[in-house]
Amino acid sequence: MTVIPMGPQAALAAGVLGALSLGLMRKPPALALRALAVASVAGAMLLAVCSATGGYASAIVLTDSKSIGWQYLIYLGALPLALWLDGEDDVLVVLFLGATLGMSLLAAASNLPMLFIALEFMSLPAYLLVARSRPGTRGLEAAIKYFFAGGVAGALFMLGLSLYYADTRSLAASMDLTPLGQAGAGLMAAAALFKLGAFPLNWWLPDAYEAAAPEVSGFLSTAMKSAAVLFLMRLCELAPSAGFIAFLPAVGAVTALAGAVMALRQERLQRLFAFSSVSNAGLLIIGVGAWAASGRSSEGVSALLFFLGAYAFMSNGTFAFIKHSGLETRTQLKGRGAAMPAAAAAFTILLFSLGGIPPTGGFMAKLLLLWRAVDADLYWPAAAGAVSALISLAYYLGMTRELWLEAPHGPEPKPGPGAPLVIACAVGVVLLGAAPWLMSSLSGALTR
């Protein structure tokens, strides 16, 4: 099969241009815009499948196994939002496709300036997406906060990049670093940790996730998080001797614990899942640390891929449930299981999966990731990760209890559309959890 270099990115770029052109019309056709959003993401996914068979590398882009694998994750995380977009607002479609294109470019970037361009390309539309997805000033405030955090991250990266270049005279991978280059690599890693929401660089994240529409939060916590993890991994590859790599497991452990503890007392669901996303980011950082510590093994890559893949279902599914049910707080959740049994049962499965209870994909994901850490002799980070999972169970189980076991409270909710999406995500995590063989063939194919 002939490989089209940058085919997926071309499909997304075509989508952006198409949406912009449709937007020129007096009344943009909503259906066409919706179809365009779904078709671009699905087309990109298809083209990524085609390019999985052959490698392509140039000075600025490459398609290695990680690049392809992460593109799947990004499109998988983006697809639910493509399905949610109602097409009434053509700008939202453009912003969404633009952000996805940026993530996709990031997955393919092979040198530092390209990484920076991709980082900005995915971040700028994301700020506007947060601001525009829900009317009102809250979204605007959160978007500005998000923008400043992103601006700091971009500036850190740029500063780090110049220090790194000053030291190595190279924009590609380099083995030997002087303290100057070490500082540069550290600053660039800080930018990646900012994007991932590592503690204490996570202050912007709960506000952004809470203010955005739930489906946009789902997009940010899955596709964006996948891209950010790859960003961190690329930095580890470009500067394999950098000092920051040794700190990643500890940073991850602190983040996992802090996220879980802060989620405990949250009343608003979107804010709670934002902190839960911070906690999961912590586990991912432990995973990246374990991968880097074990000589960047392919097992480490598959563990991260599997975790992010399962998380794409779990997080998109939970945010889709929030959108579908219209419930905003834990109090409103009380006793509502019976009113929407199918979606609520699916949500419960997703909660159990997030809590890491077998036989679900979330359990397998946590198991594989922590196993990598144990295997790399990172016992304390692994134990911290397990304890964070234990703490997180308090609120996942608490929500299950509120949903099913407690008496209803307040006005009856009016469920909107979207139940099939929640159910599809729940089916996804059950399949991932009940089928170790599925994982073995999938990750085998991706890391070949």
Binding site: F352, I357, P358, P359, D375, A382, L390, L397, G398, S440
Partner: protein, 481 residues
């Protein structure tokens, strides 16, 4: 049948799925699948013991990523506990028959039976852990949805406690598997292939991690605090499954995983573990004595009874092991019967305090008879099942560490001291001023049939224990020190 063992855990699971969609007719689905499940277990048990020789049935699947493989195996220990699961499951369905409960109730019980069967069958530690955790989910809903007043608290406490224990068990398993890979270059979760000597200096940590996971489940003092709440708040049938089978998972885990993998370490730990087990027997009995709630009293008595099982098993003598294992079955039958009867009382009078009743023997003679019978079996009257198990477990302990056996004997004495006064207060003492005995009608035919089934088994094991002991002996022979 090509895959009888897979059918064993899939049948109740299919039953759960069917029940969930049957609506108000779910009880018929539950009854059908419980009977099918019990029939299958009987079939496997008969096939296993054909020709007077007990064989081990194996089912080996392919090896997947990271050495995870689907392997099931059933020796007499597994089949014995699965038979207990199937029998009590059927009893629970029959006992709950007239309850006004939705389809989910029946589906949860079937799903629980499936997961428990998986625990007893799995020989791949990954699957063992998955089934182990999967038991928590249906029980969480059984307690939380159909329990009594304080059910929410009890359900969450139950889940968190056991999950916390098993997280350490999982980390221990991961370390075990990783150490094996480091030494041999092979990934495997196969219990038979793993060798704890690869662990080196980390072995004690891994051993105690495993023991922690199992001890929470047993439950051994001081990790027992979830039990009184969970057992008391669960619906009657839920308490039967909880005490009857789920507590046995802990002892089973010791027998199946911890003792074979760590033969020396587990023997070195005997003073600590045995001491805690002996203390559990006395502590459980003393706590039971202080209770004013009949159900809570039986819950605490479970802690004491499981202490006897542990003493026998940890002694690693032939009579201790077989006696301790038989006591697992005995406790399932007697405590199951007692919990059911408290449930029947509660259905009628909505009370279960010791002082809420009196003079029930004249009002409900059948109930009095079965309650007395089960109480006597529970405190170890010779001729009934409890005596055999406790006697053998204690004699096993006596030959290894006599002090533990003495403590155990004290526990036996104390058992009579809490069980008989409770029986007397409810059934023979004159009814007090606030008594609700007037609301209690005697057992109906269905309830009597359920209790007859349990009582006859207690009598059978008590009068003719030999075949039962002989049945378990081959599976435990390898553990004798």
């Amino acid at each position: 049948m090509n895959a009888p063992l897979t059918m064993l855990w899939l049948t109740p699971l299919a039953g759960a799925a069917v029940c969930a969609f049957l609506g108000s007719r779910a009880r018929y689905g539950a009854l059908f699948f419980s009977m099918l499940f019990a029939g299958l277990v009987a079939g496997v048990a008969c096939g296993q013991s054909s020709g007077g020789v007990l064989s081990v049935v194996n089912e080996l699947g392919p090896v997947w990523a990271y050495g995870i493989s689907y392997r099931l195996s059933a020796d007499s220990l597994s089949i014995g506990l699965i038979a207990l699961t199937a029998f009590l499951n059927l009893i629970c369905v029959a006992a709950s028959w007239e309850l006004e409960v939705p389809a989910g109730y029946w589906a949860c019980f079937m799903a629980l039976a499936s997961a428990l069967t998986g625990v007893f069958l799995a020989r791949d530690l990954f699957f063992f852990y998955v089934f182990w955790e999967a038991t928590l989910i249906p029980m969480f809903f059984i307690i939380g949805l159909w329990g009594s007043s304080n059910r929410l608290h009890a359900a969450v406490k139950f889940f968190l406690f056991t999950f916390a224990g098993s997280v350490f068990m999982l980390l221990a398993l991961l370390a075990l598997v990783s150490a094996h890979h480091r030494m041999t270059g092979v990934w495997t979760w196969d219990l038979a292939a793993l060798d704890a000597s690869n662990l080196g200096s980390a072995a004690p940590l891994v051993f105690w991690g495993l023991v922690l996971g199992f001890a929470v489940k047993i439950p051994m003092f001081p990790l027992h605090t979830w039990l009184p709440d969970a057992h008391t708040e669960a619906p009657a049938a839920g308490s039967v499954m909880l005490a009857g089978v789920m507590l046995k998972m802990g002892v089973y885990g010791l027998l199946r995983v911890a003792l074979p993998l760590f033969p020396t370490l587990s023997f070195d730990a005997l003073p600590i573990l045995g001491g805690l087990a002996a203390f559990s027997t006395i502590y459980g009995a003393l706590c039971a004595m202080a209770q004013t709630d009949l159900k809570r009293m039986i819950a605490y008595s479970s802690i004491a009874h499981l202490g006897f099982c542990l003493l026998g098993v940890l002694s690693r003598t032939s009579q201790g092991l077989t006696g301790g294992t038989l006591q697992l079955i005995n406790h399932g039958l007697t405590t199951g019967a007692l919990f059911l009867m408290v449930g029947f009382l509660y259905e009628r009078a909505h009370k279960r305090g010791l002082s809420d009743f009196g003079d029930l023997a004249t009002r409900a003679p059948y109930l009095a008879f079965f309650f007395g019978f089960s109480t006597l079996a529970s405190i170890g009257l010779p001729g009934l099942n409890g005596f055999v198990g406790e006697f053998m477990a204690l004699s096993g302990a006596l030959s290894v560490l006599p002090i533990l056996a003495f403590a155990g004997v004290l526990g036996v004495t104390l058992a009579a001291a809490y069980a008989l006064p409770a029986f007397q207060a409810v059934f023979w003492a004159p009814a007090g001023p606030g008594s609700v005995s007037g609301k209690v009608t005697d057992l109906n035919l269905r309830e009597r049939a359920v209790l007859w089934a349990l009582s006859l088994l207690m009598l059978w094991i008590g009068l003719a224990p030999r075949p039962w002991l002989a049945y378990f002996e081959p599976a435990l022979r390898g553990l004798v020190r």
